[in-house]
């Protein structure tokens, strides 16, 4: 019942917002304003579901026989934590855009909250779905309502971002549809037995399709190009949700459907690592704080994808790596959400009384993302290192490589801090929804990962809470050396920049050396070339068939014309009086003679 409630309340609210459009303009505006105020409450049922619905219990399963092909919903080990952070993030985002004074509210905020509610439903739909069709329903609803979020400001950049996002999400949707049909027809309609079914037939094909489909959403290289474009274009609340919750849908898709496979695991691992490190290089040179955060998301998602890849490589470790991935996702969701929500908060509240609070919060979130000790980041990294201990990649232990990602993220965060500190301020006097929601997310960021890690994620192998890092010096040092390395590198770069040693292009203020969405230009031109080439070829083929048909019909009508002329010539001949007579006489004699001969013949 709780599942139904958590899915339906946001939808009901969206419906109400839509129907309000029918009323007279004045009442329409007031009703919509009041509805957006209630919007954040729509997430409450989902939060309750996450808290109360421990997997396997009555509230955690729902079967709707008449929906789609018999819809099943269930809260399971992985879904519960992700559900919680999604609910929290969406709640905070809705809070951020609605509980503020009318004067500060953005133009068309009700449309924004409507799209947020829709993507929230889609998002938790993907987590809760227990059968392929409802999963796809949730996924499609989420990705297409996200387009509404990205386009919100209607700026040219937003338009371009939406176009790119739409094209990529349509491609990913179709790939996922094909994969799901393959899995379902292999017997994996219910998600519990999907990976097994996917393993039976067309495994390679299914893996490829799933990589492509969910890779777009999870921002793995080379499919990540839409992320750096979409985040700056979307309103901050939306981009918080985009990188906090939506990107995780890609992760849950892989966890649900991916069958084992060494080659697939290896490919995914390499892509993940490339993503993790390359994103840092490109992110560092950006000027827009949200773009930097976007690249940080790409690198963090690289980290999580690496975990999933390991799960594929070594099936025994699948349970542990998946659990680690989920915990890390939880941590990253909240921390990244806090950072994104923080961008406007810094802009409005950095001065004056709330300044310290803002500084503390941002610092805390930054450290968590970097994985400093005592933060949820450290916890996440520790659990992941435990899960992947012993895996070798090109001779280097994976558990050595992962901390380097932390250094990368420290570099990015320092760059972010530098850029955000120099950003212009537009102070607001009284605290409003924006600040509150940001604070909420920061608090959740600190508390929730630990709670989830300890109690909710029972390691399927040891069947008890995942090991909580004890603060002995060994683990402390493991957590801190990557950060120190990062700080040292940053200092060196800073000194070089001070001395003017760095090439001018790198530090030029206006256009960053690498446009956001770096590979995009290459991919766009590739796509455009393929499209135009294919189009030209098809048009040529069409032209050819058209002319052939034209020639054939000309021949046909020429023949018909000749036939008609011949007939009318004959008609002219026959029309005359003498000719009828002549014909009659000829016919008469001919027939008579013929019958006489015939009769003569046989009688």
């Amino acid at each position: 019942m709780l599942i139904a409630l958590s899915l339906l309340t946001p939808l009901a609210l969206v419906l109400a917002l839509g129907l309000a459009g029918l009323l007279r303009p004045l009442t329409k505006f007031t009703i919509r304003r009041r509805l957006t105020l209630f919007a954040p409450l729509a997430v409450v049922p989902a939060v309750l579901l996450a808290l109360l619905g421990n997997p396997g219990s009555a509230t955690a399963a729902l079967e709707v026989p008449w929906m789609l092909f018999g819809a099943h919903f269930a809260v399971d080990l992985y879904a519960r934590p992700l559900l919680l952070i999604a609910a929290l993030l969406y709640g905070a985002a809705l809070l951020a855009i609605s509980w503020i004074k009318l004067r500060d509210a953005e133009r068309g905020s009700s449309a924004l909250s409507a799209f947020l509610l829709l993507s929230f439903t889609g998002n938790i739909g993907t987590y809760l779905a227990a059968d392929a069709a409802s999963f796809y329903l949730g996924f499609a609803l989420m990705s297409f309502s996200a387009a509404g979020l990205v386009i919100h400001y209607r700026t040219p950049a937003a338009r371009r971002a939406t176009r790119v996002y739409l094209v990529m999400s349509v491609l990913s949707e179709t790939a996922i549809l094909a994969a799901l049909i393959l899995v379902a027809s292999g017997g994996g309609f219910l998600l519990t037995d999907a990976p097994a079914a996917a393993g039976t037939a067309h495994t390679g094909l299914i893996q490829g399709l799933l990589f492509f489909g969910f890779g777009v959403k999870a921002g793995t290289v080379p499919l990540h190009v839409w992320l750096p474009l979409a985040h700056p274009a979307a309103p901050p609340a939306a981009s918080a949700v985009l990188s906090g919750a939506m990107v995780k849908a890609g992760l849950i898709g892989w966890l649900r459907f991916l069958p084992e496979g060494e080659t697939a695991g290896a490919v995914l691992l390499t892509l993940a690592l490339i993503g993790a490190f390359a994103a840092v290089l490109v992110g560092v040179v950006q000027h827009d704080p949200k773009v930097i955060l976007a690249y940080s998301t790409i690198s963090q998602m690289g980290f999580i994808t690496a975990l999933v890849a390991v799960g594929l490589l070594v099936p025994e470790l699948r349970g542990a790596t998946s659990a680690a991935a989920v915990i890390y996702a939880v941590h990253h969701g909240l921390a990244k959400g806090a950072l994104f929500l923080g961008v406007p908060v810094v802009k409005h509240y950095a001065r004056g009384r709330t300044g310290i609070l803002v500084l503390l919060g941002m610092l805390g979130a930054g450290l968590a993302v970097a994985g400093a000790p005592l933060t949820s980041g450290a916890f996440g990294k520790y659990v992941s290192k435990e899960a992947v201990s012993g895996i070798e990649v090109l001779g280097v232990g994976l558990d050595q490589l992962l901390p380097l990602v932390a250094t990368g993220s420290t570099l990015l965060l320092l760059r972010f801090a530098a850029v955000i500190s120099s950003a212009d301020r537009d102070p607001r006097r009284r605290a409003d929804g924006e600040l509150l929601s940001w604070l909420g997310v920061c608090a959740a960021g600190i508390v929730v990962p630990w709670v989830i890690g300890a109690r909710w994620i029972t390691d399927p192998v040891q069947d008890e809470g995942v090991a909580v890092p004890s603060w002995d010096p060994g683990t402390l040092w493991d957590a801190t050396w990557p950060i120190l390395l990062g700080i040292i590198l940053a200092a060196m770069v800073w000194v070089a920049a001070r001395r003017g040693l760095l090439p001018g292009r790198l530090t030029s203020q206006e256009a960053p050396v690498v446009q956001p969405g770096d590979l995009l230009l290459a991919e766009e031109s590739l796509l455009r070339r393929v499209g135009s080439g294919g189009g030209a070829a098809l048009d040529a083929a069409h032209g050819f068939t058209g002319s052939a048909a034209g020639r054939w019909s000309d021949r046909w009508s020429a023949a018909a014309q000749r036939g008609r002329r011949g007939v009318s010539w004959a008609e002219a001949r026959l029309g005359g009086w003498e000719s009828t007579g002549l014909v009659l006489v000829v016919l008469l004699t001919g027939v008579v003679l013929a019958t006489m001969l015939l009769l003569g013949g046989n009688s």
Partner: protein
């Protein structure tokens, strides 16, 4: 003989004689009275033919010796399935056209009237009083002479359909021919030449027919259709030398009738005659007059000659001419720019369908089908199927063509032109008329739910059963062509406005003599619509028609 029997026999006799009597009577009356008499007679004939049809459908052939004289000298009237059907169709079409002519006297032709002098009383037949030299002659619409001629023609038709012996058929044919020529002549200046040409053809045809009948009489010693049929079958059984004379007679009769029915190489006279005839006359010509010749041909081929194998060559020649008719008629119809010649050519084309069955009659039990497990048409049915198909086609054509010619004539009278391009958009002013042209087009093309479709279906199934696949091809080609030229005739009428929405301007309508006439003209449009509706509704009568044809069938 019990009462009802004598009543239907009375109807049998009356159906021939009453129109003749009315024709004679109408000569004495004024033009208004003639219209009333005309309508009354048509109602009477309709009433008389109903009991005949009922009696025949219940399964017995009616025989009546006029005046009690027995067969060699006396006239015996015989009505079997075939004649009952043709009688009924003629009654329906005749009645509707008569009402139309009564409602719109202007449709009955043009008369030459001296300007000043009151129109001279019309003497019998067509001899006009000599006109005074100086007063310039002017053409007036409406010709009172229409009624006597048409009623005479009607009685001739009925005589042909119910006559029991060949000689009476000849007399009937002549009466029809004579009155038809005169009816064409009512159409004014350009109709006279066509009428004269029609006259020569009619006389030539009937002379050939007469020689044929005489030959048959000399061989069989009897003029009665049934007796001569039996005599000939005996002759064929003995393989008598006289069979040559019979075959020669059949050749002469078939060619004579082909002339009268305007089968392709001999169709020259039909186009000018039917298109220049007045708008009330051309439906009668196309729908009824040529059907008389077809009826006699069917009688000769099936009842008299009985399918003699020796007629093989003649059958194939006629079938060839029929196929040529379908193709040539349709192509020429496609090339016409005026409505009435187009419809006339369509008649020439449709005539071709009625001759396709002849080769089928000669060898119905070809071996082509022995091997098929599921052959549904057993051997005897091929003949029945072919005949009912042809009769259905002929009757369907009668109804549809009458409606089409009425509508075309109506438009020609109103706008004094039947150029298709000038009549563009006539549909807007006369929706009922275009609707009836559409319905008759459905009947002529042979789309389902029309007698034409059932006819084509029956002919096709029996042809395929007898292995004559070429008929299927001809039928399909014919249907496609007829669809093409009928679409060419009807489509322009539907045009509402030019592409750039400018309204269409119709040629200025003829000024009508009186307002009262306007309502009548409006009413008159009901006639073609009724006939069009009938073509479609009779689509359901396929089974009933085959049943009726069984009555008095030769096999």
């Amino acid at each position: 003989m019990n009462a009802p029997m004598s009543l239907t026999l009375f109807c049998l006799g009356a159906v021939v004689l009453i129109p003749l009597l009315a024709s004679a009577l109408s000569v004495l009356l004024g033009s208004a009275a003639r219209r009333v008499l005309g309508v009354l007679t048509s109602a009477a004939v309709l009433g008389l033919s109903a009991p005949i049809l009922v009696r025949v459908t219940s399964g017995e052939t009616l025989e009546l010796a006029l005046g009690g004289f027995e067969s060699p000298l006396g006239i015996t009237l015989r009505a079997d399935g075939l004649s009952a059907l043709f009688l009924a169709m003629t009654a329906i079409v005749g009645a509707v056209v008569s009402c139309y002519a009564a409602a719109r006297p202007a449709a009955t032709g043009k008369r030459l009237v001296a300007q000043t002098v009151e129109p001279a009383t019309v003497t019998d037949g067509d001899h006009r009083a000599a006109l005074t030299e100086d007063a310039p002659a002017a053409w007036r619409t409406g010709h009172a002479g229409f009624w006597p001629l048409w009623l005479g023609c009607w009685s001739g038709l009925n005589a042909v359909f119910v006559s029991g012996d060949l000689f009476n058929t000849y007399v009937g044919l002549e009466l029809v021919g004579l009155t038809a020529v005169a009816l064409v002549a009512l159409g004014g200046r350009e109709a006279w030449a066509a009428a004269l040409r029609y006259l020569f053809i009619a006389v030539l045809g009937s002379l050939l027919f007469l020689i044929g009948v005489a030959l048959i009489y000399s061989v069989t010693g009897t003029l009665d259709i049934i007796d001569s049929g039996e005599a000939i079958t005996q002759l064929a059984a003995q393989g008598d030398a006289d069979l040559a004379a019979v075959v020669l007679a059949l050749c002469l009769i078939s060619l004579g009738l082909a002339l009268k029915v305007a089968l392709v190489p001999l169709h020259g006279w039909l186009i000018p005659a039917h298109s220049s005839a007045p708008s009330a006359v051309s439906p009668l010509l196309s729908a009824l007059v040529i059907k008389a010749a077809l009826f006699v041909l069917l009688r000769a081929w099936l009842w008299v000659a009985g399918p003699l194998p020796e007629l093989e060559i003649l059958a194939w020649v006629l079938a060839g001419m029929g196929t040529a008719a379908i193709l040539l008629g349709s192509v020429m119809a496609l090339r016409q720019s005026r409505l009435k010649p187009l419809i006339a050519y369509s008649t020439v084309a449709q005539v071709g369908y009625w001759f396709l069955l002849l080769p089928l009659l000669l060898d119905p039990e070809t071996s082509a089908l022995e091997g098929q497990p599921g052959t549904t048409l057993e051997e005897g049915a091929v003949l029945a199927g072919a005949l009912s198909g042809t009769v259905a086609l002929a009757l369907g054509h009668g109804l549809a063509k009458a409606s089409l010619f009425l509508s075309a004539g109506h438009l020609k009278d109103l706008y004094s032109t039947d150029e298709i391009t000038e009549l563009r958009g006539a549909g807007r002013a006369h929706p009922m008329l275009v609707m009836s042209m559409g319905l008759s087009a459905v009947g002529l093309i042979g789309l389902p739910l029309s007698l034409g479709f059932s006819g084509k279906w029956l002919l096709a199934t029996s042809a395929v059963a007898a292995g004559h696949y070429w008929i299927l091809v001809v039928l399909v080609a014919g249907t496609l062509f007829s669809a093409a030229y009928l679409l060419k005739a009807v489509a322009p009428l539907l045009v509402m406005s030019e592409d750039d929405q400018t309204a269409l301007t119709l040629p200025q309508a003829q000024n009508h003599p009186g307002a009262s006439d306007r309502t009548l003209t409006g009413k008159a449009q009901l006639a073609p619509f009724l006939l069009g509706l009938l073509t479609v509704l009779t689509g359901f009568l396929g089974v009933w028609l085959t049943g009726v044809l069984e009555v008095g069938a030769p096999w």
